[in-house]
Symmetry: C2
Subunit: 387 residues, 2 copies
């Protein structure tokens, strides 16, 4: 590259946590700021790991939620068997930071993306890919054989979501056979993610929706093993379905992600005890400052659509009855309730709408201790909207 | 900082364009990718500069849209009188990259943010801030006087949008007087941005909505000058209102932003000739690859809510009749129309919903020449969701 400047293709930002020499009072943080309350986060890691271990399963948290190598390291230290990522770039960033084993949960199809995943495997990364088309199986197998590596793969199943994967029937079995025959591939099992059931509000209804997809999957596993092909891995599930996928006797590991930070979308769901916020705490907030007051009873804050994902609406913490509304890319309007007002220059904290796309808006995650001091900053190294 | 590692507060990524030694064919670009067609972009810069110059006004493009110093440099080279930014961090990044003069278009209120803007002014940046509260005027004036600098300020007016600013009447005049009296501040004029009129679809209705706010503003300018206070600057407007704010005899410069890249939101508006896409071309697209085909008549691509802003729906280019729908954070489903299908591994281009928050999702902007080759990559240096 010109003058030795790396292109974006080879550009990686910092991935190691920065420990502040002096703790920063919460009030000194520039806003809008993405803040992780460390003890709530660590409690969430322990709670999910215990829950999943109690089902006799492994936990393979989804790194697409946080895109942060330091969060991944702590999930692995808490007992996770590996990390899911959504795309090639995330796999590269995590591998570079020493995080693994890695599973890329979307099919990889573009030639350059396949080449990069092969290169990662050649470099020694413990990497598994998913496949769902003969085109994809062929393209991957050819490259793996050419590079002299064996790529572990899972066949991606579609539990009637219509996004990726194939139905758990003869179509899936045909893919298994193609993988088994391919020289550069090793069949490890199945991925089965029912994204459409994760946010069903009522617990019984969510349970029924989860279980509706289990029977066909069990049939496919039996049919695969009847052909003498062992199914070592059956991975899937999420924070909304863990209570029903866990005891199903189908999965070997679960891919929950949002439990680590939590958000408004998962927080309002019915759980085994009240809502999911009774099982996993709000560890992630956005801090915002009041900068203008165009009318009585409300105030304008400095966090809008570029720092908070729009839907569902973020929830105002610390100011009872107050409600946040978006007012464009850079601003929100907080309407006061019975619990008092916010003055110009004062701050508030918001529980975010959906943690995954909110975290994706930021370069850094500030880490707060129990004394409400910011003590570290963790790079969200795999963000950037890219490949 | 520990081990000399900079904290996020002091962390700046690359801000200079990278020229690729070898042009990259469009098809070799990793997806999802944010791509700027250079000639369309340059034509947009020329078209808007000519239009605004024709009204006898200055153009002060809004940098919140692109957050990219190289785009700003080209806007200035095309004749812009300066650049708007939305927040302190953007001002810091642009000043560091040598871009100016700068206007921060939101009131700055948090103590640390005020300190940083004073530091920027002390360092020699040609910087103007807006104020709308006595609290803000006092806090800024005190710091400016203490630092021995004079900070140019505009009083931010609210054309009934209810976000920031004060109504253009006695309240605004009282702020002018406070600014004039304050030792560390210099009153330069007014900012008047009617965001709520920018996206009214029908041209006549949009014109009427713009003009509805001009009369009160004219009265305020006259009242200010009647007190012997000159109004050197009256800035505001956007891509949707330029045709009506331009000839109003009120503004001294206009803050248009989206015209440079264009998007679906502005593209569908009625303009002086057909739609606004007849005045300004689609220079920005997201390229995405087909990775899975769970059903006939549609295909799943690798760009979802983390690489495309959700609303309004992005438009599929190059595949007539095809429509894009979101399928979660990482995926979209393209339903085919009469114009053919897309096969696994093939790519398509999408006109983005709203350019500002879409650009904010990416670290790099790829620049394409007329031969459909990628020739440069420009860092979106001021992004990151932060302060």
């Amino acid at each position: 590259m010109a003058n030795g400047v790396p292109t974006p293709l080879g550009h990686y930002g910092p991935d190691a946590p920065v420990v502040l020499e002096q703790p920063l009072p919460r009030e000194a943080l520039p806003t809008p700021a993405l803040v992780l309350q460390r003890s709530a986060f660590e409690r969430n890691l322990t709670a999910m790991q215990s829950l999943v271990s109690g089902y006799g399963l492994g936990l393979r948290p989804h790194g697409k939620m946080h895109k942060c190598p330091e969060v991944a390291r702590r999930q692995l230290a808490a007992g996770a068997l590996g990390l899911c990522v959504a795309k090639p770039r995330e796999a590269e960033v995590m591998a570079r930071a020493g995080v693994g084993p890695l599973l890329v949960t979307s099919p990889v199809l573009a030639p350059q993306a396949l080449d990069r995943m092969i290169a990662l495997r050649v470099s020694g990364a413990d990497l598994t890919l998913v496949v769902d088309s003969f085109t994809g199986i062929e393209a991957l197998a050819q490259r793996a054989a050419q590079a002299g590596v064996v790529m572990p793969v899972l066949v991606d199943l579609d539990p009637a979501m219509g996004r990726t994967g194939v139905a758990p029937g003869p179509e899936a079995l045909a893919r298994v056979e193609a993988v088994v025959k391919a020289k550069g591939l090793a069949f490890h099992g199945f991925q089965h993610y029912a994204g459409q059931v994760q946010h069903i509000a009522e617990a019984g209804e969510r349970q029924a929706a989860c279980e509706a997809h289990h029977e066909a999957a069990r049939g496919l596993v039996a049919a695969t093993e009847a052909k003498g092909v062992p199914v070592a891995v059956f991975t899937g599930g999420g924070t909304g379905s863990v209570f029903y996928d866990g005891p199903a006797g189908l999965y070997t590991d679960l891919q929950c992600g949002s439990y680590a930070f939590m958000d408004q979308e998962y927080g309002v769901l019915e759980g085994p005890e009240g809502t999911l916020l009774d099982s996993f705490a709000t560890a992630l907030t956005v801090h915002s400052t009041a900068i203008s007051q165009p009318r009585e009873g409300a105030i304008t804050v400095d966090a809008g659509l570029k720092s908070l994902w729009p839907s569902p609406l973020p929830a105002v913490l610390d100011l009872p009855g107050a409600r946040y509304f978006f007012a464009g890319d850079e601003h929100g309007v907080v309407r006061f309730g019975d619990g008092g007002a916010l003055a110009l220059g004062e701050r508030l904290r918001l529980r975010v709408s959906h943690c995954d796309p909110t975290v994706n808006l930021y370069d850094w995650l500030w880490v707060e201790n129990d004394a409400e001091e910011i003590v570290e900053a963790w790079p969200i190294a795999a963000r950037g909207g890219a490949w």
